[in-house]
Symmetry: C2
Subunit: 365 residues, 2 copies
């Protein structure tokens, strides 16, 4: 079946890949139980830990699966029913952490935030000194576009002795992240976001304390058991056949990012996001940015009363060859999101703003 | 890091991909929450069910993960602690099913087979009428190259009312498989075998009875819960971001296989395997085929006493640009395997036989 692959892609993933990554997709996928592939895996781990500003002894698990696989594996491997977990639930992905705790019988309480609002001091106050042992948060709640204040969270975790697990799937390489300095114990990332490689891979970083938790815990899944990944990873291997091709693409991206420098990579995404936000304002489009705490990764946009956000997505797809990211659930018809990840340029932004202008003229926005 | 990808690849996966598949790897990975991608997924399901000769109402779950992820998900979703499971354990992958039953507290007994031997009537006799409710088997035990007699197994399951789960990861599209006629309830397959697409995807087919088991069971994993996959699959979607690019490559392959016809695809692999087996015999190489019940997928070969199979693998890789498949564990130095899956030709076979001839001359074989 023929399927369009060449639209301008402003979704939050899969995102547009640089040519150097796609070129690897044209190659054969090599056999992987070799010294050469082990070397590549160890290089991936080293580069990734540098980019996370991780503390010494931190390790990376390469899990073949979606970001949710990484989130679930992190929960199953590092938490158990002796924990008392505090979860920030400000949208679909916070809710996912809540669901994972419930499913795996891990005691938890949740901080439910109003739509689009960041976390503030008073949200945490009621939970101070209440014996919480762990904290789960999505650095960037991708469903609503809210970026949480990590400094606030880290301070809370330090004061309360909480083990800290962060889903940084849609924000890593888009927003500054300092795993070591912030005392984050587990970070979950996903290949189809700012890595700009195909979906199907979740990279999970575990500091020394997290590794101790993994070793003490019983993980009731063979595929998700980090013990085996950490052991085989010492020699650059995985317990099961991984997405070998995607790992080679990851290597290329990490080398390119290292060469460009993290500051430059973050600055580029921040500039692209800033450019788009200014452009829609300058164009006088009737769109409202839906959060007071934005990530560089995404701009969440409300349409006017009486207009249909999902119809905007459909029109852009059908008539303009552009994908923005629709929302699911209650917000489906009110909100759409514009991503700034992957191989996008200011020209792409301009094309999108032009197309939105045409929809506005046509009374669809 | 530069990594060789262009050796002749006779491993059991990842295998060599046709150019038409690789070409898709060069493209952008499109956004997938669209009607177009749903259509592709539904076409994949329809084509795959035709190739499995599945009975009406059978469904396919597309799980992003390795073959082991598919095996574990199949066990977690369709079996529970009220079952009494019989497992055929003739090697590493039979052992994996045993480990999965133990890990998930599913009562089981195992039939341990001597190395390299197929399953025969008398192996099953002690288990007749003993109240077994389910049967787990690897159609092809990839670690040793043994193909089991499915007719024998299906008859046993029919007589004993056993629910039948088959790992056909390395044999599907290489050996004849008749899911409906054989009364197989669950079939697990993997993308990097005869599908000849990149690793990272496990396709699991579930007949009506299997779907009922899924619906009744509590699956203690969000990522592996087939209920959500079956529900979202009705409209051609998945609960979590799948390996979109690999699913598009799968679509291309399934269409090409459908056009060529299953008989022709199976015949090609059988001929390639037959050609190789005759060629090593004709060359008078001191290699012994290690099984009396061969799959078309693989030829397992013992080296002579005093020679080192792992060294043969290393020499072929280093000096001849050829990958064969080494074994792990006890057999590492005694056995290597030659795969016949993927985009291989008789010329490739000849190149391998020549290289083995040179190793023989040099005293390394």
């Amino acid at each position: 079946m023929n399927i369009a692959v060449d639209k301008r892609n402003f979704t939050v993933g899969p995102v547009q890949m640089p040519y150097a990554v796609r070129e690897i997709g044209l190659q054969q996928v090599p056999y992987f139980r070799t010294g050469e592939f082990s070397g590549l895996m160890l290089e991936n781990e080293r580069l990734l830990l540098e980019m996370l500003y991780a503390s010494a002894g931190t390790r990376v698990v390469s899990l073949t699966g979606s970001g949710t696989a990484g989130m679930e594996a992190a929960v199953m491997n590092t938490l158990n029913n002796h924990d008392k977990v505090l979860v920030v639930n400000g949208g679909g992905f916070g809710e996912r952490f809540v669901d994972l705790c419930r499913l795996h019988s891990i005691p938890y309480e949740e901080i439910r935030l109003p739509f689009g609002r960041g976390l503030v001091e008073k949200d945490l106050a009621p939970y101070e000194g209440k014996g919480f042992t762990a904290f789960l948060v999505n650095y960037h709640e991708t469903s609503t576009g809210v970026l949480y204040d990590m400094r606030l969270i880290c301070d809370f975790c330090e004061r309360n002795g909480c083990f800290l697990v962060v889903d940084a799937i849609s924000s890593f390489l888009a927003d500054p992240f300092y795993m070591g300095e912030w005392g984050v114990n587990v970070v979950v990332t996903g290949s189809q976001k700012a890595y700009a490689i195909p979906p199907g891979l979740s990279l999970v970083a575990l500091d020394g304390i997290a590794q101790e938790r993994v070793m003490r815990n019983t993980c009731r899944s063979m595929y998700f058991d980090f013990k085996a990944y950490l052991k085989d990873g010492e020699r650059g291997q995985t317990p099961f056949t991984p997405a070998v091709g995607t790992l080679i693409q990851l290597n290329k991206r990490l080398l390119d990012i290292a060469e460009a420098g993290m500051e430059s990579v973050l600055r580029r995404t921040a500039m692209l996001a800033g450019h788009f936000r200014k452009a829609i304002e300058a164009a006088g489009l009737p769109l409202t940015i839906a959060s007071d705490s934005l990530s560089n990764a995404v701009t969440p946009l409300f349409v006017r009363e009486g207009k249909d956000a999902y119809e905007v997505f459909k029109c852009l797809e059908r008539e303009h060859g552009i994908w923005v990211c629709p929302n699911g659930g209650e917000l489906k018809h009110k909100l759409f999101r514009v991503g700034h990840l992957g191989d996008l340029t200011e020209d792409d932004n301009n094309a999108l703003v032009d197309a939105l202008g045409q929809l506005y003229q046509a009374g669809k926005l």
